[in-house]
């Protein structure tokens, strides 16, 4: 039982310390995020016309958004994509983290770099590389097709999302793996020693020590993977000019749609409304996932 030595004065100082520690981040955050978001919300209440400039339209942009088939097309696509790609990617990441954690010897370091490298590659480069490899004419797939006599096209409208999935998984599994790996490395050795004394098997160690330790980081990675994947933009954007007939439209993902609206269609107000609606939607989903995870974190 700990002794309550904290006087009221001390307790108060602690709470201001907390705020002080957070202040640098907080102030910059207000400047870099809060103000622009508020401004964005403000813009979303206006309509921009090439002739006639800006005019106040209230919630018209939002009403229009909810009737916009192109918006739904992109939104549904991105949700389905996330629902499939994120679990696969995180599962791979966990398996790899567990594997690297136990294969303490040969090649761990080499493997870690190898797996992390894809994340380090800028989007334009990785899209070029994959565009080539999955190319049906001059790429590796083309060669495979020739050898096997098939006509598989990774960038046909039906298969483009799967190909993008391959690219995204390639890029981010290592990233997530490292997060899990860090969590595994933070497990106190005493737990392992205790387990060894109790004569636990490898599987039991994994199930009872390692996996629970991953819970916190799993919540984090799930949330951020969902958030990131909802914002899918780079790959469809770059691919649209690299490959033909891929079915990638200017509204393929909500983010791409917002980008087109703002920069090609000069409809900043509408784009802002779209972005904010997607943000709200993402927050709701993230919150739901969060609630399940936060319970564990705060239950300490």
């Amino acid at each position: 039982m700990t002794l309550q030595t904290t006087s009221p004065l001390r307790r108060k100082r602690r709470s201001t310390t907390g705020l002080l520690f957070l202040a640098p981040f907080g102030l910059l955050f207000i400047f870099v995020f809060i103000i622009p978001i508020l401004y964005s919300a403000y813009i979303s209440l206006f309509q921009n016309k090439l002739i006639g400039g800006q005019s106040f339209v209230g919630l018209d942009n939002y009403a229009r958004l909810f009737k916009d088939p192109q918006f739904y097309d992109g939104a549904i696509r991105v949700v389905v994509f996330t629902a499939i790609q994120v679990p696969i990617m995180l599962l791979c990441a966990i398996l790899l983290a567990l594997a690297v954690d136990s294969l303490r010897l040969h090649g761990t370091r080499f493997f870690r770099i190898v797996v992390f490298l894809p994340y380090a590659v800028p989007a334009i480069v990785s899209t070029l590389m994959w565009g080539f490899m999955l190319g049906i004419r001059y790429g590796l797939i083309g060669n495979l097709n020739d050898a096997l006599g098939t006509r598989f096209d990774p960038f046909a409208p039906e298969t483009t999302m799967a190909s993008i999935g391959i690219m995204v998984t390639w890029g981010f599994t290592g990233y997530n793996m490292l997060i899990f790996y860090a969590a595994l490395r933070a497990i106190p050795r005493e737990l392992y020693e205790a387990a060894a004394i109790d004569g636990a098997t490898e599987m039991q160690v994994v199930r009872n020590i390692k996996l629970p330790a991953l819970r916190g980081s799993l919540t984090v990675t799930v949330i951020f993977s969902i958030i990131g994947t909802f914002q899918l933009f780079n790959e469809p954007n770059i691919l649209s000019s690299l490959v033909s007939n891929s079915g990638i439209t200017s509204y393929y993902t909500p983010n791409l749609y917002a980008y087109t609206l703002a920069f090609t269609g000069s409809q900043q107000g509408y784009a802002a409304a779209l972005a904010l609606v997607m943000a709200a939607f993402t927050i709701v989903i993230a919150y739901i996932v969060q609630i399940r995870g936060m319970k564990n974190a705060f239950d300490k």
Partner: protein, 274 residues
């Protein structure tokens, strides 16, 4: 298990191999040879020279810019994230949960919604087209803050902090000398991630910067790539783009190798006895 690991390593490496092989090809060879085969001539050295001399050697400038953006940005943002995350985990104050939720929410907002307002805001302050336009947004790492919060909650025992307080240590000193070393794997992770993320930063700098003298590598390389797909007097320099991409990745590998050592230490010095 090892098979799966090996397969995955191959999956990760294959595009890199492609990158390496094609960095050795001249432009002519690139267009006419099969992707994974070597070209007629070995042009890696020529390509590297080309990269550093094209457009009056602006690549070196871009490289320096990126290093500056990354070193300053990663250090500052990691420090702020660690400080803030620790505070959120170990200190009690008004508005804590609300703050976390807002930060979390902010990540959900697509960059596109923020880009134009940020641009207008920075323009008002005369910061566009300056390095500050890239640095200031990079000081905020919400994901880093979140990670540090989670790790601080898990890895720094309250009892240790209490003990230090009883000993009369000041709060910041507790953070700096006790908590921070314990958080090493987490801070190194956040540092590394922000290093990479700032290194690969593209969208916002694209909008903020118009002077090539301040471009980071990503924008510069992208511009070189677009030279080859613009009607008019563009230039096709795919070989330079690929070699430049290869050069771009090298510092990240070095950073990773250097920071690897800190992976080993993750255990609290002076463990707490129950």
């Amino acid at each position: 298990m090892t098979f799966f690991v090996g397969l995955f390593a191959l999956y990760c490496l294959l595009p890199m191999v492609w990158l390496l092989i094609n960095a050795t090809k001249s432009q002519t060879d690139f267009v006419s040879t099969f992707g994974l085969a070597f070209g007629g001539e070995f042009a890696l050295w020529d390509n590297i020279v080309g990269v550093f001399t094209f457009q009056d050697g602006i690549f070196a400038r871009w490289l320096l810019n990126t290093v500056m953006y990354v070193v300053v940005g990663a250090l500052v943002s990691t420090f702020l994230a660690a400080l803030g995350g620790y505070a959120l985990a170990k200190h009690d104050f008004f508005g804590k949960k609300a703050f976390l939720l807002v930060v979390l929410g902010s990540i959900s907002v697509p960059g596109i919604a923020l880009a134009i307002p940020q641009f207008l805001l920075f323009a008002q302050m005369g910061l566009t087209n300056t390095p500050w336009a890239v640095l200031i947004p990079s000081f905020i790492n919400p994901f880093g803050l979140y990670l540090m919060w989670v790790y601080s909650s898990d890895a720094v025992p309250n009892a240790l902090i209490e003990a230090a307080r009883i000993d009369g240590a000041k709060e910041f000193r507790i953070f700096w000398q006790i908590a921070l070393p314990m958080l090493a794997p987490a801070t190194v992770t956040v540092l590394l991630f922000s290093f990479v993320s700032i290194w690969n930063n593209y969208f916002l700098p694209l909008i903020m910067l118009k002077d090539p003298a301040w471009y980071p590598l990503t924008i510069g390389i992208n511009q070189w790539n677009k030279l080859g797909s613009t009607a008019g007097n563009g230039e096709l320099i795919q070989n330079l783009v690929i070699t430049a991409s290869l050069i771009t990745i090298v510092p990240l590998i070095i950073a990773f190798l250097c920071l690897q050592r800190y992976w080993q230490s993750g255990l609290a010095l002076g463990a707490v006895k129950d």
